[in-house]
Symmetry: C2
Amino acid sequence: MACSDCGYDTAHRFYAGRRVMITGGLGFVGSNLAYRLVELGSPVLLVDALLPDQGGNLFNVSAIRDQVHLRIADLRDASTMADLVPECEVIFNLAGQVSHIDSMRDPLADLEINCRGPLVLLEACRLHNGGVKVVYTSTRQIYGRPASLPVAETHLKQPTDVNGVNKMAGEWYHLVYNRVYGIRATSLRLTNTYGPRQLMMHNRQGFIPWFIRRALEGAEITLYGDGSQLRDLTFVDDAVEALLLAGANEAANGEVFNLGGVTPITLRDLAGRIVELAGGGSVRCVPWPSEKKPIDIGSFYADYSKIRRVLGWEPKVDVTEGLQRTIAYYRAHGRHYWPTVPEMARDHDPVPLRA
Amino acid sequence: MACSDCGYDTAHRFYAGRRVMITGGLGFVGSNLAYRLVELGSPVLLVDALLPDQGGNLFNVSAIRDQVHLRIADLRDASTMADLVPECEVIFNLAGQVSHIDSMRDPLADLEINCRGPLVLLEACRLHNGGVKVVYTSTRQIYGRPASLPVAETHLKQPTDVNGVNKMAGEWYHLVYNRVYGIRATSLRLTNTYGPRQLMMHNRQGFIPWFIRRALEGAEITLYGDGSQLRDLTFVDDAVEALLLAGANEAANGEVFNLGGVTPITLRDLAGRIVELAGGGSVRCVPWPSEKKPIDIGSFYADYSKIRRVLGWEPKVDVTEGLQRTIAYYRAHGRHYWPTVPEMARDHDPVPLRA
């Protein structure tokens, strides 16, 4: 492990031999975290329910399959949690339903996954392993449309869909259990995380993988409006480092931290960059459909100075490098992420609602 | 109806013949609202699940029992909601689990009642009656420990228990459905509401009724600390007027409003006033138990200038008058609210956790 020059040494050393559980461990961020933890010498337990249409994908861990423990199980099952939680020193609680569109189509399913799940896990911690540390992944979606930029942690929370409400609640359960029961917990508010191993089967879980898939298919990327909305992107390796720092650092307990990106970029420039790097596809701007305009949140980028100050984290991978690595990954492994039969590639919906 | 001099004429006239549903209609605020709506000529449907240990009490509506429709039913039952919601023009969504202590003892039950319930109701509105107006009762508990006083609606939300988290989510579901689907919704953040028809069976649903019961029983009222924490109290008739205004006024759509009291009062003064007006009981201050001190929120009183400005509401009943009316009610009807057999009156826990 050549970590001595990366500035994160202490956190990295912390995980050697440390028993870690990752919920949502077959998903996008969870599997990338698992690779890193295996490198760092941590015995890793992956828990994933492999819910249909979610990001869990066995291929995501194929290269470390014999170096991790895997339990296909649902966070909402209290008995399973009572079985697994006592064995852990750190839990990365990443399981969740992340589609904003799906949360409006089936709000009760989103409630079950994003509220009941974390509560069952935290109850298991309280009852069976009060000494565990929990790191939760929240989302910038809880802020809604920014009143000012960049958005700091103290910005008013105004979630614009059921998923945002439930993720806000999920975050607060962790903070309440930290405060009332002393179960050490930290919440990271992720922005637009992207990179290898992200779901690409449909366009309801983030616009970046969808843009990449469209470009790799030589298809058109459609943007609402003039594409001038700014976004900050976090490459998944940077998000993983933030998780590791939060899990290892006592100063993170009871705190929430924004993540962020190196430099905000407009959706138009992002789509153009993807088309350029992928060597295929095209970009077209169309007017906002009237029924979708009310949920446009405009530009968003986060103020991540708090996590830089407290944990020493900052994003290191810029958009070009991150996209190159992501595109290379999907060029090699795309068939594990979306069907290639022509009739499945017809879907050409514009960028999903909450880009 | 002699409303012409009360300043709320328009709202009052709005309800004549207006079909109204009250969820939690057998509870404290719900039943008081029902009396007022019957006076105003509204056909009222009360929905209440009569969940054990909650505030639903058939005696609460005994005097108007033949003037209202009553359905013992659970908000979480989608079929029942599909049956009832289409018939309503205004829904006062008051059903909820209100005990902070119970929410920590059984967080999943609180989730079911306070999150699933509102979501099922709102889905019924979306599917079967998009033109309905919904008024939701939220709580000042979502603010947590105030950073400054008085607390305005824009104050950071920092709920300190699971109930506070779930009520915050319940409020946001309403705002999201207002914004995304145009289902007109308003949330009122109630402070310490008190008055006739409040649960007095146990001390886990608010300290004011508990103080009153103790005084009426000639027992000791125990306060943590020196009792100098300030609280603002809303007499239930004032809360009912705020609900009526919110339900009748289009300017309330998509908005949240704090309620508040005429003048903040310390817990010590409040307990003393209750003992004086009830002519019995006594007050004793004890040190904060160490395990409860972390959840002391200090003083709290709300800034209600927004609802005064937008809806013209302000609290009118001061603490002395409100307590007199409340004490008179329980002196006459106390046997319907708590058992009088001696062994049931032993419980002398201090003021509940979140006074």
